[in-house]
């Protein structure tokens, strides 16, 4: 079988083997419902709690501030809608950015249809939110600021600490979608002064179908899924015990030695960026030169359709993405790149390469080699 080079870690990551081994018993033998009071149930409950501690340890918060959900999308929906409806009497204004993931963007648009007023902060050409504009956008009736930690398409990281400081001083709740950041950068919720933070296990070598929302103690937020009162009455539904166990193990493994993992991924990624720029003419790096996720490279290859390029690379066993996975099949240009003041051509012609720990220098060389040939050929034979 031909070797496959997976460069789409922002879409999803392979499950770590140790994580899978840790999950397995909770599928078959230790299958108890965590709310049951007999031994089998108590064991499930203990496993869920252990995971909660692991997540809390990784984020430097209290265990009772961690709530498990079914995914990053649910966490984002909960944070935004839960705050909006619980604090409606205080105000109806929410500030977000123009480059959020659809889970945040569309939750805000939903609220807009339901009587809320949303400010979409612009970003500069690198995808960074301006703190001055943020300050000027704050009103008396602002109840929530929701800005992503790092962007899923271009990898730009926001000045989260500064935003947190501004939100805290203005007494406004601050939520961050950290789905792309957790496992890649060290995060301290107190340092960042965030009140809510969303994460998703499958982005850091954990299983799909499980995520979490950090909610700072004292935050006034409505439940989102209604029912059986699990998760301290805040998130109903039978606990996905194996998934939660997997999330806990994955966050532990991905944050244990985050600095050296970062360095490794960053080295490979930088090698790739350097080689692409050296070997391929008329190519532009989207996003910030330095304030970006260690694994992310996003390029515009002039004159080349991104979907075409992704398809050709796929035939060569190289898996990349044109934009975010959620919108791969959409024909509309990336809202992120448009917000960064890129042309429609750029927004349709950009390809995302996202590296993980297992990628090697040889892979980088091979990918750059294929890329140069494909692009050269296509430019000569448009």
């Amino acid at each position: 079988m031909r070797k496959v080079i997976y460069l789409d870690h922002a879409a999803t990551t392979p499950l770590n083997c140790d994580v899978l081994e840790k999950m397995k018993p909770y599928l078959c033998e230790n299958f108890g419902n965590a709310s049951s009071i007999y031994q089998l149930g108590i064991e499930s409950r203990a496993a869920v709690d252990e995971s909660r501690y692991k997540v809390a340890y990784a984020l430097k918060c209290q265990a009772h501030e961690i709530f498990f959900t079914s995914c990053g999308t649910e966490s984002n929906n909960w944070a935004i809608k839960g705050i909006a409806f619980a604090n409606r009497l205080k105000g109806n204004h929410i500030i977000t950015s123009a480059i959020e993931h659809p889970a945040v963007k569309n939750s805000c648009e939903y609220l807009e249809h339901n009587g809320f007023d949303i400010t979409y902060l612009p970003v500069d050409e690198f995808g960074v939110v301006s703190l001055d504009i943020l300050k000027k956008s704050i009103r008396k009736n602002t109840i929530l600021i929701s800005i992503m930690y790092a962007n899923n398409e271009v990898g730009t990281m926001q000045p989260i600490k500064e935003i947190g400081q501004i939100a805290r001083e203005s007494n406004i709740y601050f939520h961050t979608d950290a789905v792309q950041a957790i496992g890649n950068i060290d995060i301290d919720v107190n340092d960042c002064k965030v009140d809510m933070l969303s994460l998703s296990a499958h982005k850091f070598n954990g299983p799909k179908g499980v995520g979490a929302l950090y909610i700072r103690t004292g935050t006034n937020i409505d439940p989102y899924l209604h029912g059986g009162s699990q998760e301290l009455n805040r998130r109903s539904g039978t606990e996905n015990v194996p998934g939660i166990v997997g999330l806990g193990k994955a966050i532990e493994l991905s944050t244990i030695d985050i600095e050296s993992k970062n360095k490794k991924v960053l080295t490979i990624r930088n090698l790739f960026i350097g080689a692409v720029i050296r070997n391929i003419p008329n190519v532009f790096l989207n996003g910030h030169p330095t304030l970006r996720l260690p694994g992310n490279a996003n390029f515009f290859f002039q004159g080349i359709d991104a979907k075409y390029l992704a398809t050709i690379l796929n035939d060569e066993g190289i898996y990349v993405s044109n934009g975010s996975a959620c919108s791969c099949n959409s024909k509309s240009p990336s809202h992120v790149l448009l917000a960064m003041n890129k042309t429609e051509e750029t927004a349709l012609g950009s390809v995302r390469f996202t590296f993980g720990e297992e990628n090697t220098e040889d892979e980088v060389n091979y990918v750059v080699d294929v890329l140069s040939k494909v692009i050269e050929y296509k430019r000569k034979n448009p």
Partner: protein, 385 residues
């Protein structure tokens, strides 16, 4: 000591065949089903296959299945999203007094937002009578939601008749079938329901996944907002291994259902009669015959449900007093109260729910130890003189 698990209404173990089907999607086939590369497409095919397996079990077509994170989300979506997506419909809603909290609390949430809610009473056997529903219908009734079978007492509702009444009154009909999918034959066309919620972990599939059946033409709307997954009806990266597991569980349920149903009915019958005949002051809760296969729910006077469970657990027998969700709660079950049982009797409830791995010996064991447990507990009870 052999452990005897008799709490299959709370959750079930993942079937080994389901487990084996899931593993490749945890390992090599880890792609995001929305990615355009081969890894993504492979995941997409697996999701599609699971969709057809779920559709087949329910008698639905593939396009009518929306995968969710579980029964709670499916019920929330059916109720809350249907109404928010159909603001032109009336603002009167009907449900029953014995629904699972995922349904009841979704309705209470809407009631707080200005919807008018009617909660139908049930008979002493736990049945919702079609005539009572008929009398409650109003021109403004938008949605009726009645569970297929109750999780605590096992009573099976006359869904077809209830759906007919709802439809005659111009309302849409949803059923929470979390307890019945995989245990009873289901045909959404025959039942004539518009929406139906199912949960994988109740039928030997994994936790964290379920589905909502939405009849073609019913505009349910999405509960989560985000990416375009599940044709926009359920944004969020697809839980591929979970969905594959659920699909496989549906396939197995489809194959094994008739045999399991017969076997569990027979074993449940023996367990029920054995308990009622050997323990004085005990009574069956729920319907004598219209009940879930293998579901035995009883109330014992002068004892506390929780003490029974602890004693049973010491014999390696796992059971519950009602629904697992409320195990920690001291309030008596809203279901038993709705059946008209007084508080003190509702407190002494025991639910034994059999599954495919239970044997006749398991039933013998329970029948051997339970009478003594009840007798001992009554001996300690100040209530029993």
């Amino acid at each position: 000591m052999r452990e005897i698990y008799m709490d299959h209404s709370a959750t079930t173990p993942v079937d080994p065949e389901v487990f084996n089907a899931m593993i490749p999607y945890y390992t090599d086939r880890f792609g995001n089903a929305s990615s355009i590369h081969t890894k993504g497409q492979r995941a997409r095919q697996a999701v599609d296959q699971a969709r057809s397996q779920a559709a087949e079990l329910l008698g639905a077509s593939e396009r009518e299945i929306v995968f969710t994170s579980g029964g709670t989300e499916a019920n929330n979506q059916a109720i809350i999203s249907y109404l928010s997506n159909n603001p032109d419909k009336g603002r009167h809603l009907i449900t029953s007094a014995i629904e699972h909290h995922a349904v009841l609390d979704a309705f209470l949430h809407l009631a707080k937002r200005g919807y008018e809610l009617t909660v139908l009473p049930v008979t002493a056997d736990g049945l919702v009578e079609p005539d009572i529903l008929k009398a409650a219908m109003k021109p403004t009734t938008a949605l009726v939601s009645i569970m297929h079978a109750n999780n605590e007492v096992g009573t099976i509702q006359p869904i077809k008749e209830l759906a007919a009444v709802a439809h005659a009154g111009g309302a849409v009909f949803h059923t929470d079938a979390v307890q019945t999918v995989g245990k009873l034959p289901i045909d959404v066309e025959e039942m004539d329901v518009d929406m139906l919620a199912a949960s994988s972990h109740k039928l030997y599939g994994p936790k964290g996944v379920g589905c909502l059946y939405v009849k073609r033409g019913i505009r349910v709307g999405n509960y989560f907002h985000g990416g375009g997954q599940e044709r926009g009806l359920r944004p969020g990266t697809e839980n591929v291994p979970g969905i594959v597991g659920f699909g496989t569980a549906c396939k197995l349920a489809h194959i094994n259902l008739p045999e399991r149903q017969t076997r569990l009915n027979k074993m449940g019958q023996r367990l029920k009669e054995g308990i009622l005949n050997s323990i004085p002051h005990s009574r069956l809760t729920g319907h004598p015959v219209k009940r879930l296969p293998g579901s035995v729910s009883v109330c014992f006077e002068f004892v506390e449900g929780e003490s029974i469970l602890l004693m049973l657990d010491s014999y390696g027998i796992m059971a519950s007093s009602g629904s697992a969700c409320t195990s920690g709660s001291l309030d008596p079950s809203h279901v038993l109260l709705a059946l008209g049982l007084p508080h003190e009797i509702a407190h002494g409830s025991l639910r034994l729910t059999l599954g495919k791995d239970n044997t006749e010996e398991d039933v013998d064991k329970v029948l051997e130890v339970l009478p003594n447990i009840i007798q001992n507990l009554r001996g300690m009870s100040p209530l029993c003189n």
